[in-house]
Subunit: 680 residues, 2 copies
């Protein structure tokens, strides 16, 4: 058997495994997996560099799958590579198996990202390629010369985010990014040409990519394209591979059943294919489809040996590098371990009564200096979301220059979020990104994935309420806080709140919120910040020390003995409560004020602590610039003793102090509402 | 003064008005407005065809502004056109004024769409252009020959949705769409070249657009480009106009202050511009900036006269057409009045125990036949979200053929939503679109805008819970129902729930839900539907008649006298309650079962009705496949008498019946949980 025959045999092996997995699970997507098999076979058997003995090796090439429904193809090639057993392939899509319907990130198994929602995966690859460039600029090519591979399908190419990913990769000249576009002209419900006539190659060229078009089922063409792409030093490369959907599928009478929409999303047999004829045609044994052909096993065994040789060289090179660069080596170890340098949070000085976005900028300035592996991004709002606090200490990425640490993402919120996710998946860096809170809507699909993958990306959202003012309802978040806190209520598969959401009440709490965000390496963290000035909250002693109460999610800011009423809020509404409390106290009402930056964190405290802060039975008044439901997890509004004043409608365009008056967000209205609640 | 001098004078007039509005409001975006003034002036004074006496005229050309922050430009040119007074311009961004910070749809004032979140506006224009083609195919060019204009900025071009809008418009050959790209190379926080090196012209050509590049501050070039675009009969046209940010801005010493990032988002004076020198340089009187120059007033008066002449012709042509086509004329009147043909909902036959998505398909088949002006779309899932129930009765749009009524949107959920919004804004059509419920995340930014604009788009979301099964957590909605119901809790500016959200419990309720959706012409409606089979709910009499209880948002499905417990759910969980109730009743527990497809609709019923269905004090058990909080507006979980069983974490990949068992969504678990609740 010559080289190409072996390669085709291996691709056929992947096709058989993929089709058989779907067949056995009675569920899944065989057609695409069969078409893409040749590419992943060439990639994994000849190009992808990884350490068979240390899957988490920082210098590994990374493969990001965008179309998660093509998981059978990925599991199959990873089985050839020794990462999955044939038994595990047979438990595809079953409870508790390591082979779920869409791949879930598992570096030990060779799975770099969770995928499923199309388009996101290749944007993660762009993020990983940026992280690799960033780290290369700091540590050197000797240890950070990895290539980032991405695999995208017709569906992913159509997703809107391809605009952001394509633009960013081209603009930044990510020559370490190679993307294979599996162009099989079939999507879930139609052929591709029924929904698009776009010239994909021309579009990517317009974005500044190198484009190579090949027969994506031809091992030699794939190999040559990959070599050419690896040699490219200016641009990312798109390899457009024309492939055959359901390659090898046959009916019972031996007719081809290729290029059919019906093989996209169901077992081949359900589409009218003879699985027996198909497997036989592909050179397998229908009675024992879950098998690896001897010559294919040999191909991958040979690759394993090659990789051992490559790794020996790489390890030697790294050792030499570490000897010559002990400081860098030490940094690299810390960065990839996710260690944070010591930060004297208490020493961070904040201006009085500033917007919390301003307080965030102060902290970001400190982080830019102290956390050398931190990258901050903004979707064209750095001077408004105040990520410029970070930017002022560094400069933005440019093609050929990744010595800076700021990513100007352009007006592309979802792309920015996915790029930051990709950076986190790559490892070695801390990623944060900012925009207006109302635009968190655009990021929701990515937030969900960051939450599911348990990635510690920091999301900075400013202009947190109707106090955006003149910009009007399109820019005024109302339902967004309740919306993002749904992810705080949703547990991840490790049993933790899938996202930490913090809305600090003043500058000191903002410092504490950033402390929590940086210390949280287990889930994403959101920081929700004000546009407008916020009065510093009153302190009995040191305000920062007292603001550390935020670490419990909610805490008593101050109180009178045996309070008649508890007032609770988050963000800038806490200072409005302080104003209202002064009016109430002037009349002898005994008040407790609670600041509650994180409902999720509070609910994770002991029942005793929760009851001590928000006791049942005591009248409780909540104030939120969001929908009233935002606080209904903390205030019992069912029993007549609890009341929430919130914003029940879209906002309006007017100066925010006018809106405060019109909408009842004043100390005076707090006073009146509480009087009513107390029946006075 | 020659023609071009007058045109420049008019553009300068717009510049002065725009800058002065921002100056007076002390807030806003003057720079872009000053650069784009020449284009809108040429468009409004020479090209845009509308009826000065009937702003809602169906045949009008429509102008969609994408960058809402350029509102001063729009208000200014509309003031020249007689749609706003100078006094109204002076109340820019103030409480209660008709000139909010970002434009809010107001056809009487010439504002076709609410804008602000970049990118959406031009996608609405694509939708309007499709609606115009659809109506032209049915009614004729005599009455539906309008041109759709869009105006986009550097920021909008960067938004991911430009990929979807560009592809769709090119693929469908929307030659009735002309978009001006105001390329001033400045965005909010940087110059454009700092964040993108893409070749915009080449990209749009790749999408199949005609592209014309001009000096966007040159009236004659604009005019010629518009003529060329109007003559195009195959493709949409992009006019790339290179413009000058802050055109005419000067410092106190007379230096140019053009092309500055700092004039993007604040009053010119705050950026360091002398407003006095600038206005003088533009030929205005700084002491009286809110003025219309006599020659400009004359230009627009002349245009008004021209339009009267054009309208006289158009009206005559329409009358002749109506005489020749009385049936079409009658249809056209009905369609634009938003009238629905009579539909015998009760007569719609549903298969027993089918998925609610299947029941939806049945209704869609009826609607496809009965509602001739309805358009249905799917984001590449028509055979899965069962919008193919509609598709089977028609065919998809194709370039040059809009005789069908189905829009294959491709894998582009946000684009699809915005295109449907654009159809609704155009008027004359009913728009619906489908995808998986988990992907409603991608549509959230558009849902919010549809809700704000009070547009009756129908959103069809299937695969509504973890019962997606094998596809796993990326495809299993958990927090989505609670999320979209936030829009049901949020009021629009008319005081109504900004969205109607319906999750029907069986086939009969699905028919009723569609009835409600079609009858709701005041807000968007969401239908949340199951993938899996759902047992028809038991009926005392006629199930459809009883399912009409859904019109009250929640209703008693059946009950024992003086129930010990109330069971409440929506969607397929109701039938699980029925199973649990059987077990409870077998032991003598008296049960009431409540189906609650819409919390919002229920909360809008009388307090008496609400108390009659869900009485306080009676133990209540809620079951939801979403987060428990999904039902906490209906079940009081604070007092120990209410309990919700929901899904607190991301889902898992496994057959859905396995998940039902593992996650506790069985009659048996309902029985056990209720026993625990009742302390038995």
């Amino acid at each position: 058997m010559n080289d190409i025959q072996v390669m085709n045999r291996a691709a056929d092996n992947i096709r058989i495994l993929a089709a058989s997995m779907v067949e056995k699970a009675k569920s899944g997507h065989p057609g695409g997996a069969m078409g893409g098999a040749d590419f992943v076979n060439v990639l994994f058997s000849e190009f992808l560099v990884y350490d068979p003995e240390n899957p988490a090796w920082e210098g590994r090439d990374r493969f990001f799958l965008d179309p998660g429904h093509m998981s059978p193809m990925l599991y199959a090639v990873l089985a050839l590579s020794g990462k999955f057993t044939l038994d595990e392939l047979q438990r595809f899509r079953q409870w508790g198996s390591p082979t779920p319907g869409h791949p879930e990130v598992n570096v030990a198994r060779g799975i770099e990202n969770t995928s499923g929602p199309l388009g996101q995966g290749h944007a993660y690859a762009v993020g990983a390629a940026i992280a690799a460039k960033f780290l290369e600029a700091r540590l050197g090519r000797e240890v950070m010369g990895q290539t980032i591979y991405a695999f995208i399908s017709d569906g992913g190419i159509q997703e809107e985010i391809s605009q952001g990913a394509g633009r960013v990769a081209g603009t930044l000249g990510l020559d370490n990014l190679i993307m294979f576009y599996d162009a099989n002209n079939v999507q879930l419900s139609t052929t591709v040409e029924e929904v698009t006539s776009e010239n994909v190659a021309m579009k990517y060229e317009a974005w500044g990519w190198k484009v190579i078009t090949i027969d994506g089922n031809d091992a030699d063409q794939i190999r040559r394209a990959l070599r050419e792409a690896k040699a490219e030093t200016e641009r990312p490369t798109l390899i457009i591979g024309r492939t055959v959907m359901g390659k090898g599928a046959r009916t019972a009478d031996g007719q081809s059943f290729e290029n059919k929409v019906s093989t996209h999303g169901q077992p081949l047999s359900a589409a009218g294919v003879s699985i027996e004829r198909t497997i036989r045609g592909l050179g397998g044994d229908p009675a024992e489809p879950f098998a690896i052909f001897p010559e294919v096993a040999e191909l991958y065994a040979r690759r394993r040996e090659e990789l051992k040789g490559i790794m020996a060289e790489r390890r030697a090179a790294k050792e030499a590098w570490a000897k010559a660069n002990p400081e860098k080596a030490e940094k690299m170890a810390r960065w990839f371990a996710g260690e944070l340098p010591a930060i004297d949070w208490a020493a961070i000085e904040q201006k009085a009564n500033q917007p919390t976005r301003g307080a965030s900028a102060t902290v970001l300035g400190v982080l830019a200096s102290r956390v050398e592996n931190m990258i901050c991004a903004s979707a064209d709002l750095s001077n408004s979301d105040k990520t410029d606090g970070f930017l002022k200490k560094t400069h933005a990425f440019r093609k050929g220059d990744f010595s800076g640490a700021f990513f100007q993402a352009g007006v592309a919120e979802l792309t920015m979020a996915c790029v930051c996710i990709g950076m986190a998946l790559h490892g070695g860096v801390v990623a944060a990104c900012g925009t207006f809170f109302v635009f968190s809507d655009y990021m929701k699909p990515a937030l969900r994935m960051a939450a599911l993958m348990q990635l510690p990306v920091k999301f900075i959202w400013t202009h947190d309420a109707f106090r955006v003012g003149e910009d009007g309802p399109t820019h005024e978040p109302v339902e967004q806080e309740a919306q993002v806190r749904l992810l705080e209520k949703l547990k991840n598969h490790a049993g933790r709140d899938s996202m930490r959401v913090l809305r600090p009440a003043d500058s000191a709490e903002t410092t504490v919120a950033w402390k929590l965000a940086m210390e949280n390496r287990e889930t994403p963290t959101a920081l929700i910040l004000s546009r407008q000035n916020v009065n510093d909250l009153p302190a009995q002693g040191n305000r920062y020390e007292e603001a550390l109460g935020a670490e419990k999610g909610a805490y008593i800011l101050n109180e009178d003995a045996q309070p008649d009423v508890v007032l609770v809020a988050s963000g800038s509404e806490v200072s409005t409560l302080v104003d209202g409390a002064a009016l109430l106290r002037a009349e002898g009402v005994k008040v407790r004020i609670v600041s509650a930056p994180s409902e999720g964190l509070f609910k994770s405290q002991s029942a005793d602590y929760q009851a001590a802060v928000l006791p049942a039975g005591v009248p409780t008044f909540g104030l939120t610039a969001g929908l009233p439901v935002t606080l209904e997890g903390l205030v019992n509004t069912h029993d007549g003793k609890g009341r929430v004043w919130g914003l029940g409608s879209f906002g309006y365009s007017a100066p925010y102090k006018v809106l405060d008056e019109k909408l009842g967000f004043t100390g005076q209205n707090v006073y009146q509402q509480v009087k009513t609640l107390l029946g006075k």
